[in-house]
């Protein structure tokens, strides 16, 4: 059985210090601790984790578009170099008014992640500097990583294919027709 002492200690200390500002804490598995906080507290949570708990290394900032629930979920993944633990701090932000605090004064490399998110999801970070274009050039459509941006539609409008692809069928549909099965709504939308 894995030893989860330090994982539990992290949760205890965070709960003690932040009380109800930290929710949904759990030990996902060995070396992975997950917690959720709100947009207003994220800076203080990250600073506390870095300065007091020793999570010095920022591994990753990820973003998930939960379009149905009308929110973006930003995940900050930190690493403790001595105790060898990853902590995942999740924040929800409103999808219609996507503004998040800028944390590149805590970790300089956060700047790149935030610029990418600004470009790919259209999330604004308060006080973020740097050119607006990181990856794309002269992009004038929806931010491409949003769920409602339809890449196939964009491709069909802007590019053309050689002949020879006409007989390419939707495999999912072929199978469903053969067995007389109903395709779920989400599968219909994303599988072509």
């Amino acid at each position: 059985m894995a030893d989860l002492t330090y994982e539990n200690k992290v949760i205890l200390e965070m709960r003690e210090h932040f009380r109800d500002k930290i929710i949904e804490t759990r030990v996902q598995r060995e070396r992975r601790v997950v917690m959720r906080t709100s947009k207003d507290n994220i800076e203080s949570v990250l600073l506390f984790l870095k300065e007091k708990m020793g999570f010095l290394h920022l591994s990753h900032i990820g973003c998930v578009d939960w379009m149905e629930e009308n929110r973006f979920e930003i995940v900050y993944i930190l690493w403790h170099p001595q105790e060898k633990i990853n902590v995942l701090v999740k924040v929800d932000i409103d999808r219609l008014n996507p503004v998040a605090p800028n944390i590149d004064y805590i970790w300089p490399q956060a700047n790149t992640y935030e610029r990418e998110m600004r470009e790919m999801f259209g999330i604004e970070f308060e006080g973020l500097v740097g050119p607006r274009e990181l990856i794309l050039e002269d992009w004038d459509d929806l931010p491409p990583m949003r769920r409602d941006f339809d890449t196939l539609h964009y491709v069909m409008e802007n590019y053309s294919f050689r002949s020879g692809r006409e007989d390419a069928q939707n495999v999912r549909e072929v199978i469903a027709n053969r067995t007389g099965e109903e395709i779920p709504e989400f599968a219909k939308k994303y599988s072509r």
């Binding site: 070396r31 992975r32 973003c63 170099p81 490399q109 700047n111 990181l134 990856i135 999912r172």
Partner: protein, 370 residues
């Protein structure tokens, strides 16, 4: 006489010294860089978007294309992420084979690095040797997986097929050959005064800042910090093989990073030998998955990471319970090395050393922009 005038130079995207299709905009004063700015996006394919449109098995065929010089850590990460969310068991032999593939991939990536690093310092012989010898490792891959570069071999539930007959002995033979050749490389590269002069004291990363700045992999170990995902967060059976994470080369310059890699390629050969010893002869290599068109992964998320030749490769895999990945976010080592770190440490360096430094950090554009 001091010349205060600065000149802007665009290094890349079309430049023989650049490590791929990217661009570094340099402001120089005389020969000294005063400001550097990385521009990326020339290789953006939108993998993370494409994976939302493909099902869990179709996505596996495109993850390996995220990082071209070393595709296998991507497959490993993806497979382990899916298995972790689904709770799928992997047969014992498959896990040993995965380790074998990962270590062979590391060896070939280091052999390519030998060519790049020495080529950027003006020594072209080692490139001819090591890239030529790398073909022997690629031949092994070809026999095992059918592809030289993209293998599409490690997939959720195990690996795609068992080892061919007599494969182990051929791996051992190639390892013996490469180990012997490494001494030749040492003689022309590490004993070479030109290479020593070009690399010592160049591209210094302050060790006390290294962790905070997000440095991983060989550059971090060259700063004297023994950090390796294989030891810190062991995956597969890396806790059952013996290897040393180097922290004795701690000058934190290009020279130390070269020494770390020189040490690690030998460690990898050693690990491959241990794997060949410990791998069971018989057993299944794949835990069968259901019909991929109806294969749903329960809602959940996982952050998995693998040590690649350039550092920690992380995947943040999110499933919403459907047949398609909700989001797969890739964190390549070069994402930090090639942008914020490179912009910081290039300041004050000679313009001729820019490509030496980029090679030593392992900047690899395809994984920065995916």
């Amino acid at each position: 006489m001091r010349n205060e005038k600065t000149t802007t130079i665009y290094l890349g995207p079309q430049h023989p010294g650049i490590t791929g299709n990217m661009m570094v905009k340099l402001e120089i004063q005389g020969d000294t860089v005063v400001k550097a700015e990385t521009h990326i996006g020339y290789l953006h394919r939108g993998f993370e978007k494409l994976m939302e449109r493909r099902n869990w098995l179709q996505s596996f065929t495109i993850v390996c294309r995220i990082c071209v010089p070393e595709p296998d850590p991507n497959e490993e990460n993806y497979a382990r992420g899916v298995e972790e969310i689904e709770g799928r068991e992997v047969p014992e032999k498959a896990r040993w084979i995965r380790m074998l593939v990962l270590e062979l991939a590391r060896i070939q990536a280091y052999l390519l690095w030998y060519g790049g690093q020495s080529g950027s310092a003006g020594l072209y012989t080692i490139g001819q040797w090591s890239v030529g010898d790398r073909n022997y490792v690629l031949d092994l891959f070809e026999e095992l997986t059918g592809g030289r570069v993209y293998h599409m071999y490690i997939w959720p539930g195990g690996v795609r097929r068992d080892l061919p007959k007599g494969f182990k002995s051929r791996v051992a033979k190639v390892m013996d050959y490469i180990e012997k050749r490494l001494d030749d490389y040492d003689r022309v590269m590490f004993d070479n005064a030109v290479f020593q002069k070009r690399t010592q004291g160049i591209g210094y990363i302050p060790p006390e800042k290294a962790i905070e700045w997000g440095v991983v992999g060989p550059p971090l170990r060259a700063a004297g910090i023994a950090s390796d995902v294989r030891k810190d967060d062991p995956y597969e059976f890396y806790d059952q093989v013996d290897f040393v994470v180097p922290d004795m080369y701690n000058t934190s310059d290009v020279w130390a990073r070269a020494l770390v890699r020189r040490f690690e390629i030998r460690q990898s050969i050693n690990i491959v030998r241990q794997i060949l010893d410990k791998m069971p002869d018989k057993g299944p290599v794949w835990n069968k998955i259901p019909n991929p068109h109806k294969w749903r992964i329960p809602r959940g998320e996982a952050y998995v990471k693998t040590e690649s030749a350039r550092g920690e490769f992380g995947y943040y895999v999110v499933s919403d319970g459907s047949e398609h990945p909700r989001r797969i976010h890739v964190r390549g080592p070069a994402y930090v090395h090639g942008i914020t770190l490179l912009e910081k440490i290039l300041v004050g360096q000679n313009i001729a050393d820019v490509s030496v430094i980029m090679n030593s950090l392992g900047t690899c554009p395809p994984e920065m922009e995916r």
